[in-house]
Structures are given as C-alpha cells and as structure tokens.
Subunit: 334 residues, 2 copies
Amino acid sequence: MGYKSREIRLVSRPKGEPGTECFDLIEKELPDPQAGQVLVRNQFISVDPYMRGRMNDVKSYVPPFQLNEAMTGGAVGTVIKSAEPTLPEGTAVLSMYGWREAYVSPANGLQVVDGTKAPLSAYLGVLGVTGMTAWVGLFGIASLRDGETVFVSGGAGAVGSIVCQLARMHGCKVLASAGSADKVSFLKDQLKVDYVFDYRDGEPLDHLKAGAPDGIDVFFDNIGGPQLEAALWHMRNFGRMALCGAIAGYNTPVPGPRNLAMAIARRLTLRGFIVSDHYSELPTFLKEAVPALQQGKLLNQETVVNGLENAPTAFLGLLKPGDAHIGKLVIKVS
Amino acid sequence: MGYKSREIRLVSRPKGEPGTECFDLIEKELPDPQAGQVLVRNQFISVDPYMRGRMNDVKSYVPPFQLNEAMTGGAVGTVIKSAEPTLPEGTAVLSMYGWREAYVSPANGLQVVDGTKAPLSAYLGVLGVTGMTAWVGLFGIASLRDGETVFVSGGAGAVGSIVCQLARMHGCKVLASAGSADKVSFLKDQLKVDYVFDYRDGEPLDHLKAGAPDGIDVFFDNIGGPQLEAALWHMRNFGRMALCGAIAGYNTPVPGPRNLAMAIARRLTLRGFIVSDHYSELPTFLKEAVPALQQGKLLNQETVVNGLENAPTAFLGLLKPGDAHIGKLVIKVS
C-alpha cells in the first residue's frame, strides 16, 4: 500500500537573492520497501547556509541540486516499515535525503543514531555535521591551542555557537559577532562569550581592538566581507584563519579584503575547509562531544520551525543579514 | 687616518609612489677600526622590493628605515683594514649595512662568505636571502611535490626566477607571468618555463587556463592584485599559495580578491611568510643550491647597475609595472 509523503523541490535557480518562487511543495505516493529497503518517516530536517551554493548550476564541492527534485540534505527520522532485518521498525536513522516527510531507501544509505543519548535533532546539530564542522575547523584546520584568543564571525549561528563553546571549553578567550540584539544577548548570557558585538554597530576592527587588545590567534570565519578584512588587520603573528563560510557574499558579491598582504607581514595561514573531507574523524569528535553534551558543558542550541511547508521561508531568512534564528535551524516535519 | 665613504640616506617618507627626493647621497669620513672591528669596502649592495614597506613609518615585520640614516639591507664586500685577527684583510663578508660604499663594524655583525665557490654578488641573490626565499616558499610553505603544476607571479624577478628554476629542477610544470617582452623571452628561452605570459596582455585567468588546463597546485605570489584573484579561480582542490610579496599594491592600494571564498570550495591554504623566520634552514638550502649553481642547473640571473648614486633610481624602477630589471638587482659600488 502506498504511503503519502510531501517534499520540497527546487523548481528554478535564483539570480542573486532567491525567493520562495524557487521552491515547490508536492505530494507523492511512496512504494512499499523492497527486500533490503526501509521506509523512514523523518522527524527533523536540516536547513543550512551551504545549500545556497547548491541552488546555482555551478560545479562546486558538492554538485548542484537537481531541478524538479527534492532538496537534499541532512535528515533524522524513524523506520516505520522495514524489509531489512538489520533495521527493524523503530530504528532511528540519519540520512541525506533532505526536505521530505518520508522516503524509501536501501539500508546502506542510512546511519543508525542513538536517540537515548541525545534528542534526535542533535544529530543534525551539535553531534552531527554542524558540530563536526566547528571542531574540525578549530582544531584540525586552525590548530587551536588552549588559552589562545579566538574570534568567531557569525557566533550565534549553528556552527558559530559550537565554535564559541568548544573554544571556551579549551580555556580560550572568545570574541564573537552576531547580527541582532537577541543573538548578542544569547552569546553573552548563555554561552558566556568574553566579548560580543553586533557587526552592524560601528567598525568591526574597533570591536576587535577593544575585545582583544593583544590581537587574535585564531579567526573562525562564517561570514567573510568586512569582518574578514577587520580580522586580517588584527591577527597576531603566526595567526590562523579557518575559512568555513562566507555568507556575506552568498547572494550578492562583496569586495575582497584589501589587506590580504597582512598575511605576509604577520605570517598568517588562511585555510578553507569542508567538513565532508574529515568524516573519518567523527568517532574522535563524538568522544569529546557526547559527554560534553550529557554533562551540560555543551549546549545544543537550536531553533525549531514546525512544518515542512515552512522550510523555504526559514532557509531564505537564514541568508539575510539580521535573521532571527539562533543556533542550529531545524524543521520539525512530524 | 679617515677613509671616505659615500652613503644613501632616507630623508623623507613617501606618500604613494616614492621619488628620488626621498633620498640623499652624502659623503662621510669613517674612523679607523678599533680592536675587534674591521673596515669593509662593499662590492655589491642589494636592492629589494620589500624595502618599499620600510620607507613608511609603520610597524611591520621589520622596523621602518630611520630618517637621515643610510638605507640598510644586504651588502657584500671585502675587509680592507682589520683590527680583528679572525677577519684578516681580504676576507669577503656579507652584512646588512646596506647602501654605503664602506663601513666599520664589529666582527660579530658579519658573515664570512666564500668567494671561490661563487661570485660575491651571488651571496645577495641565488645563494642568499633571495634564493632562500624561493626555496622556503616553495618547499616549506607551499609543500611543493615533484611533478605538480606551479604558477609564479613576477617570474622574472629576483625571487621569481629562482622559484621557476627550483620548481623545474623538481620535475614540475611551471607557469610564470612577467611585465615586459624581454622578461617573457628570458623566462621562455633561458629558464625553459613551460608557459609564460605578459600579465598586461589579456586576462591572467585565460592564460592560466591555457597553460594549465587541469589547474594549479601551487601558486607562488610576488605580486598580488588581479593575478592573485585569477589564481584563486584556477587552483586545484587542496592547492597551496605561498604569499611572498604583493608589489602590485606597494605604492597604491589595489582591490582585494573578490573570490577568496574559493579557498573554501577548493580547500586551499594561503600562507604568508618571511624568510628571516627560516634562516636556521640556510645550510640545508645551500646543500641543494651550491652544487646546482656550480653544475649550471641553477642560473644566478642578475642585473648589475654601476655606482652607488644610481641605487635610488634603480630601486624606484623595481616598483614600477613593466620595469626592465631581470633577476636579482644589485648595485656594484666598487
């Protein structure tokens, strides 16, 4: 018997800032799972800034989304019908099937997760690709050492909020920027970040000088643009930059940093990275993250939006300066 | 008895493009060397792009030149009067005393060099700081591996011409840019560079695509500006950039690269460096460079300008697009 599932498809590619006209919500009937397959009902789907790049028809590190197909991405749910003994009904699984309420998949495309250790949504956030991104960037890419001074742009975002916490757990002084008063409060009050500023309030460089008079050792960049330029002015000798995102320029081009030659004078290393190159280190990451989460040292801050139909609007908001989401944005679909 | 020496002093700091009015040539009488000191007559002095930065009154990796004092920098010469038994008359020495015909110094500020292994001027070029810069950048900073594809901006310059040769000695495919027809010919005919272009002739990116259809593994940058932006577009995954100089912006600001986010998609590493951090590796470098020079595998290409009084004009020319100097620029002062 068929099972009805709604999904959101990309139906046109944006020029500049995308709108809801790029997406369509359709309903389809899923077949019964065949031998070796399972039917999964998603509980949460992930909405991430990197998806903006995949909307363009440009070869990048991940291939572009296909037109007239569902938006792919991280999703967690539960097996509700199984034709595969290793994944009985009730098993919680993580997939990359993205923006749909349910799907049928062979078992080998799915990763079993343990819903007793953490809420399922955490496997999209702090215990998933998001947390892994923060951890790889800080330690693998920027070689953060205990006690250093770290600046995080977009500190209240999904990745940024974990960067702040991991750096503080390692005895670092943390500076973070954000784009709303609520985010600034969140970083100050809940994450205990040492110096927080609204990037729209004054010159970023003045804030960096105020918050880190002796300069910055590590810059974790989610934003690019003027904040990257300010960081270049204020790095210490032999500083490291983990280039994770550049959301300031995703919809409209921004000027490049005019002071990249500071990298010579200060002997800086700027290194871009993509978390999927580092998935083999996931067990090492989880060894640190799971106990930290269970002991309350690491907060899985998330914003939950209800209903698959609201995913496009939530996603488009994420790309706008001053958007309201704090931490990881997930859509609850059932 | 006094010994007369002329020297060139910095007498004013430039705003934007410097002119000869920044310099003055004066003559002074040197005292006799005291116990432990020697009187050295310079034979060659070094003229380098990095000196432009020191003309500004801005703290950088080296302190600014002092006003009304001689321009400091690399110089090689011969002891002509000695009050220090370990440095008898006739000893060839390298110093950082810069733009003067002669000087008196304690022995411990000087490095003895062997004029039988190579002409003295080579200790300012291929066997000195210049050669070391090329070697450190390629192997220490950019981790060049045999057989990779390398792009060198400013390939006919002092450092660039050695980068081209070292990369070719390691079986690499080399692309280089230069700013005159003579330099292009030099790179093609004498250094056997695989693909050479005049950076003023068409779009640098088109040249990179033509010369390296599969992309670039290592970019050694002496220039910055549009060539750096073009390189960012054309790097291969996990490519490395050694940021050595940014001469395009030394006199007037240039826009920053608008595509630095390519570093994320392609997982690039950009690393600035200064050769003086790596002086301890000089013996390792010389172990490779001296035999290569003696066997004719490595060419000490230099442009010699005669007369201390011509140092300022030669230096100012070095900073201009399309200047005529090929290889290392040295001034013969005696």
